[in-house]
Each structure stands twice: as structure tokens, then as C-alpha cells.
């Protein structure tokens, strides 16, 4: 089943003092199946952030459509966009985006509190999730008391607790050391294995090689698509690295 359908997406920014226009997305089309793990790679300025903002209903496209679970994102009115985001999308950010006035438990429960869920339901959802992510003993701690990897796991818990249709990750390993990076990527693979659809935007070939499919974004267009097939992680890593080199040195477009 297709969960996400992006077709002919365009986004043009006009600079503040009028005049010059910047086309961040020219023509982006792709689909994501339920249970898939897709990585989107691209250089700075390739339109990754713009694409992610539109997928997150934080920004409106200038043209084209995004269907999430059959619903057209640009038809969602501004007032309900936040609620839609809360109920259908889970976010993981490079900077963790945890609130320092909340304990990890409260940080994780925040979306449920905002959705008006009961305390019993919060507990019921939190317990298995925390166990699965290995942060049960840290729940009463505050963000500044735990390591970067632990913070990111709490952020993943917060993203998953609403049981979103898609987990959107924006450079989730960007602020982590290599050990925490490995742990987090393993975690993502497990989550995906359990059936969660994951879309991850990243610079890192290492991170992308864990996905089942990789889309390259260049100058506002999908320039190349790689599918894992029967590759091992190492083989897929090599193919992605080769493709990236080719992309960056201006090889032919696929």
C-alpha cells in the first residue's frame, strides 16, 4: 500500500526584497510504500530541507501534490496542520529538540498530552516503547543529564509514541559520535523491521546504506534512485558511495 505519494512537487521562494526567485524544488515525484525505509540524500542546497518541511506540513508547495495516507497535505487548513502533524508524523531531528524543562518521560509524553490522551494510555504506550529503546531507567532524568545517544533515543520514543504513519528523520545521526550512530541506525532498522515506515534525510552514506531505497536529490529534482535488492549493507554502501561520487562530480543524470 502506498503511504506517501509525492507528484510534481515544486517550491519557489521569492527573496525578501522582491525580484529574484529561487527554485528550491523543480519537479520532485516519488512514492513510499507502507513499511519501507527510504533515505533521501543530497548536497546542501539540493532542496532536502524544503522537501522535508513540505512533507511535514510545515510549508506549502508552490505546485504539485503530497498525499499522505490518501490525504492531500495542501488541503489541510493552517489551524489543524499542527494536530495533523502530531497524529500522523513522528519527527527526529539532528539537534534532538528535547525540552530542557521536562524530564525524558514528560518529553516523550508531550505529543500525547497535546492530543488530550489519558494518563493511563500514556503509561500503556510509554512502557513497552521505553523498554524497546533501552531507556526505561532514564525516564525520570532531564535531557542535560544524559548522553547524546540517549537523548536521541528519547526523541525517537517521542516520535513513535503517537504511532505515526511515517517516521521522518532529519540528519538523525548528525550530532552523534560513531558508536551512538551505529546504535541509532541499528535501532532504526529494528523499528522498520517491526513495520514502521521510515523516511530519513541524510548526508551520511553510512546512514543511507541501512535503508531499503535511496533517492538522490540534486538541484531540486530526484536525480537517481538506488534499490538495495539482495545487497548486503557493505555492498549497498559501496554502490551508494560510488553513485554519490558520480553525482557530485557531475556525472550523467539517471
Amino acid at each position: 500500500m502506498q503511504i506517501l505519494t509525492v507528484s510534481g512537487l515544486q517550491k519557489t521562494y521569492t527573496t525578501r526584497f522582491g525580484g529574484s526567485k529561487v527554485q528550491a524544488l523543480k519537479n520532485v515525484s516519488f512514492t513510499v510504500e507502507g513499511g519501507e525505509y527510504v533515505a533521501i540524500m543530497g548536497e546542501s542546497g539540493s532542496g532536502k530541507t524544503t522537501l522535508l518541511n513540505i512533507l511535514a506540513a510545515l510549508d506549502k508547495p508552490s505546485g504539485g501534490t503530497v498525499l499522505l495516507g490518501g490525504k492531500n497535505l495542501s488541503e489541510i487548513p493552517e489551524e489543524t496542520a499542527a494536530a495533523f502533524r502530531r497524529d500522523n508524523l513522528g519527527f527526529v531531528f539532528q539537534d534532538f529538540s528535547l525540552l530542557d524543562t521536562f524530564s525524558l518521560e514528560d518529553n516523550i509524553c508531550l505529543p500525547l498530552v497535546l492530543a488530550g490522551k489519558s494518563r493511563t494510555e500514556m503509561r500503556d504506550r510509554l512502557a513497552p516503547l521505553a523498554r524497546g529503546l533501552g531507556i526505561e531507567t532514564l525516564l525520570k532524568k532531564y535531557p542535560y543529564e544524559v548522553s547524546g545517544g540517549q537523548k536521541q533515543r528519547a526523541a525517537v520514543a517521542r516520535a513513535l509514541i503517537t504511532r505515526p504513519q511515517i517516521l521522518l528523520a532529519d540528519e538523525p545521526t548528525g550530532a552523534l559520535d560513531s558508536r551512538s550512530t551505529d546504535e541509532l541506525l541499528k535501532l532504526f532498522a529494528e523499528i522498520n523491521h517491526a513495520g514502521q515506515t521510515v523516511v530519513m534525510v541524510t548526508h551520511s552514506v553510512r546512514a543511507a546504506s541501512c535503508a531499503s531505497r535511496v533517492l538522490f536529490l540534486r538541484d531540486g529534482e530526484v536525480s537517481l534512485e538506488l534499490t538495495r535488492g539482495k545487497d548486503t549493507d557493505a555492498q549497498f554502501y559501496q554502490r551508494i558511495a560510488d553513485a554519490q561520487t558520480q553525482q557530485q562530480t557531475g556525472g550523467e543524470r539517471a
Partner: protein, 476 residues
């Protein structure tokens, strides 16, 4: 550095921080205007020579009261401007950090600060003294009316202008020195870092709350049960000190303890309405408890001052006739002299009461505004995160309003409570001065409280709106 560059950067800095700088400049100008008015009234000969009948005693009374007032205002202006200026400095740290990363040394930063201070001082003196001259004419008319004297022509007092200019030159010089000193800690990269790192959540402090409650109840009991005017005067300062102590204890530790207790109640805490507000209030109260307690005490002081000086003034006639009936052998000219004496004292006290109330109230409200706006800038990133997680603009508005209402309401409510319990004591003391009209006293107190509350509400709306704009416009 190229000549003319520093003043340009200084002006840019002022423009970029308009939301904080405009109220700051206006309050500087306002303080200068009020100081001029008081200095003018203390020095103008118009008040004393126009009516030959006023004797020397009345003149010195007014002058004494006014010079006392100008002393109070000068000190208060200095403290207040230091306080508001510290908010500006805190905001500007990042900007100065950027300049220093771009290669400006401390001397160059000092030059920018110098120009900035100079511009602020120039604005304060020109606008403040201009406004002060207009206001002085108005005030003189009001004071003359209060004293029962005929109006006089418009005039400007050079000595008052000089006094004002010197006072503010000193204040601004001190502000500049403080700014330069704070730059000493300005190490480029450190300055660019964000304002807050993780902080432990404050703990409940029952050990401070219980003595706070005990002190407050004790003070209230003494104030409410006092029967003897002389004892009232003797105990007045004891009670004031007890209340001040209790207010600080309860605002600092009591508010945090209350927040923590509420957080323990899961049914209450894990509600959309309370969750975000309560957790940030806990931190906010820890940082702002002392400030809010000061605001509460200042408000109580203003209300007591206003109510008692008004009662004195409006009750003067009663006091005079009471004296006259006790001394039936007084001659008409003796009566006139006594009447003049009474009105020059009570009239000028009442006038000073109004003026100081306006100044204190203005300062109180501005302090609240500053605190909230500065916190808004610091909270903006937190609200950005909450929007990502699914907080709607409406949720933000509601949560901000709830927090803000508490921050504004708490000092006002506590001040009203203090005032209610101070009533019997103040009334005993007023009776010593020959005031007998209790209804008048209560009415005046009620009116003062009402005006106070209305202005408070207006400021609450204004601040809440400014805060909301700051936290919700930041990009996600």
C-alpha cells in the same frame, strides 16, 4: 576603525532591538521629566511669594517635602534604569559576540557602547526635559489647586534643568561603566552560545515555606487586632519588616513548592492546559520569585501611600475644625495660619503621593513587561520545538495567557491582601493625625486599588501579545 562607523553601528543596535529599546528610552525620558517636575516645584519661587499671606513655615514644608521627593526619585531612577539596562545588555551579548568574532577588540566595542549611551542620554534629556517643562506647568496648577492658591504664569527653572541634567549624566556615566565592565567577560565564541544550558528543576522547599506562612499570619494578626494608635506606630515597622520577609520567602520558595506539588498530581499535571505552563512556571518562579516579591511590595507601598495621603488631604478640613473646637479662643488670623500650615503639608504630601505612585506604578509595569519580553526571546526556541511536536498556535496562546496571568495576578493579589490587613493599622495611625472619616479612607483605598488593577490588566494584555508574537513568529 573608520570614523562614523561606530555611531552607525550603535544606531543599528538601537533600531534592531526596538522592542526593548523603545520602552527603555521612554522610561528614561519619563524619569527625567518627573525629576524635573519635582525639582521645579522645590525651587520655583512662584509657589511661595505670590501669596504674601503664606508664612515661612508653610514654604519650608513644601520645599522640604519636594526635595525629599526629588531625592527618592533620583535614587529610584538610578536603580530602575540599571535594572532595565541589564535586560538590554543581556540581549545584546550575542550581537557583541558576533562583532568580536568579526575582529573588533574590546576598545571598539566600548566605542559602540559609548555612542549608544550618548544617544540614549541625548534623547532622554531632550525629550524628558521638554516633556518635563510641559508637565511642570500642569503639576504646578494641580498643586496650587490642592493648596488652595491662585494659578500663576508659565515658567522654566534653570536650576531644576541643571539638577536633572547632572543627575542623568551621572546615571548614564555609571550605566556606561557597567556596560564596559560587562564586556570584559565578553569572549567571542562564548558569547555566541545560546543563553541557557540545562538546569536542574527546582525542588520543593517546605523549610522556607512554613516560616514564611508563620511570619505572614503573625503580621496579619498584629495588624488586624491592634487597638491603640501609639502601639500602631510603634509596631508599624515591625509588621512591615515581617510582611516584607514573608513576601520574599513565599514568592521565592512557596511558588516553586506549589508548582512542584501540582506537578506531583498526575491528574492535574498531564492535562494539555497545565502541562506546558506548569513546567515552565516552575523554572520561571525560581528565577523570578524575588522580582515578583519586589513588585508586590512596591505595589503595596504605592497603595498604602496613595490611600493615606489622600485621606489626610481630604480629611484636613475635619482635623482643622476639630482643633478649632478644642481651642475656642483662637483668633481668625491664627486660624488662617493653621489652615495654611495644614494644607501646605497635606496638600504637598498628597501631591507627592500621586506623583510617586505614578512613577512606581509605571516602573512596576515596565519591569513586568521587560521580564516577560526577555523571557519570550529565551523561550522562542522551546515553543518552536513544541510546534514541531504538534502544538497549535491556539495552544501556545492559551498556555502563554495562563502563565502570564499568574505572573501578573500573583503580585497584585498579594498586594491587595496585604492592603486589606494593613487597613486597621493605617487607620489607627491616621486617627492620630485627626482623620475621622473611615468611609472616606476605605473609599479612597478601594479607588486606588481599582485604578491599579485596571492599569495592570491593560499591561497584561500588552505584554501577553508581545510575548505571543515573539514566540510564535520564529521559524520552525
Amino acid at each position: 576603525m573608520k570614523a562614523g562607523f561606530s555611531p552607525k553601528l550603535a544606531l543599528l543596535g538601537i533600531k534592531k532591538n526596538a522592542r526593548l529599546y523603545v520602552p527603555y528610552l521612554l522610561s528614561c525620558a519619563f524619569m527625567a521629566a518627573v525629576l524635573y517636575v519635582i525639582a521645579f516645584l522645590a525651587s520655583t519661587p512662584a509657589l511661595y511669594v505670590i501669596n504674601g499671606k503664606i508664612n515661612g513655615a508653610g514654604t519650608t514644608t513644601i520645599q522640604l517635602v519636594m526635595s525629599l521627593g526629588s531625592g527618592v526619585i533620583s535614587v529610584f531612577a538610578a536603580l530602575f534604569l540599571f535594572y532595565t539596562n541589564s535586560f538590554l545588555l543581556r540581549r545584546r551579548k550575542k550581537e557583541f559576540g558576533l562583532y568580536s568574532v568579526l575582529g573588533m577588540d574590546r576598545g571598539a566595542l566600548g566605542t559602540i557602547l559609548f555612542w549608544e549611551t550618548l544617544m540614549a542620554a541625548a534623547f532622554t534629556l531632550v525629550a524628558g526635559l521638554g516633556f518635563g517643562v510641559l508637565l511642570s506647568y500642569l503639576s504646578q496648577a494641580v498643586l496650587l489647586r490642592l493648596l488652595g492658591l491662585p494659578a500663576v504664569a508659565f515658567s522654566v527653572s534653570i536650576s531644576a534643568l541643571r539638577q536633572c541634567a547632572v543627575t542623568f549624566a551621572v546615571i548614564f556615566a555609571l550605566l556606561y561603566v557597567r556596560g564596559v565592565l560587562s564586556l570584559r567577560h565578553a569572549q567571542g565564541a562564548a558569547l555566541l552560545k545560546s543563553e541557557n544550558v540545562g538546569e536542574k528543576p527546582p525542588k520543593s522547599q517546605w523549610l522556607l515555606v512554613i516560616p514564611g506562612i508563620a511570619l505572614l499570619l503573625g503580621a496579619y494578626y498584629i495588624a488586624a487586632t491592634i487597638k491603640d494608635p501609639v502601639a500602631a506606630i510603634l509596631l508599624f515597622f515591625v509588621v512591615v519588616i515581617m510582611v516584607v520577609l514573608a513576601t520574599y520567602l513565599l514568592f521565592i520558595s512557596g511558588s516553586v513548592t506549589l508548582c512542584r506539588t501540582l506537578q506531583k498530581s498526575e491528574a492535574f499535571y498531564y492535562k494539555k492546559r497545565n502541562f506546558v505552563s506548569l513546567s515552565s512556571l516552575t523554572y520561571r518562579m525560581k528565577r523570578n520569585g524575588a522580582g515578583l516579591a519586589s513588585i508586590c511590595i512596591l505595589s503595596t507601598m504605592v497603595l498604602v501611600m496613595l490611600a493615606s495621603t489622600a485621606s489626610l488631604y481630604f480629611g484636613a478640613e475635619d482635623a482643622i475644625s476639630a482643633l478649632a473646637s478644642q481651642n475656642p479662643y483662637w483668633q481668625a488670623d491664627e486660624m488662617a495660619a493653621i489652615r495654611a500650615e495644614f494644607f501646605s503639608l497635606y496638600g504637598s504630601l498628597f501631591f507627592l503621593g500621586i506623583l510617586l505612585s505614578v512613577v512606581f506604578l509605571f516602573a512596576t509595569l515596565l519591569m513586568l513587561y521587560y521580564k516577560q519580553v526577555v523571557e519570550g526571546y529565551e523561550d522562542a526556541s522551546r515553543f518552536a520545538i513544541m510546534q514541531r511536536v504538534g502544538m497549535t498556535k491556539r495552544d501556545i496562546r492559551e498556555s502563554v495567557n495562563a502563565q502570564m496571568l499568574l505572573v501578573f495576578l500573583l503580585p497584585l493579589a498579594a498586594a491587595a491582601l496585604h492592603l486589606a490587613f494593613a487597613q486597621p493599622m493605617v487607620w489607627q495611625i491616621l486617627q492620630l493625625f485627626g482623620i475621622q472619616n473611615l468611609t472616606l479612607f476605605l473609599g479612597v483605598t478601594g479607588a486606588a486599588l481599582l485604578v491599579f488593577a485596571l492599569l495592570y490588566c491593560a499591561m497584561y494584555r500588552l505584554t501577553s501579545n508581545a510575548y505571543c508574537r515573539i514566540v510564535s513568529t520564529r521559524s520552525i
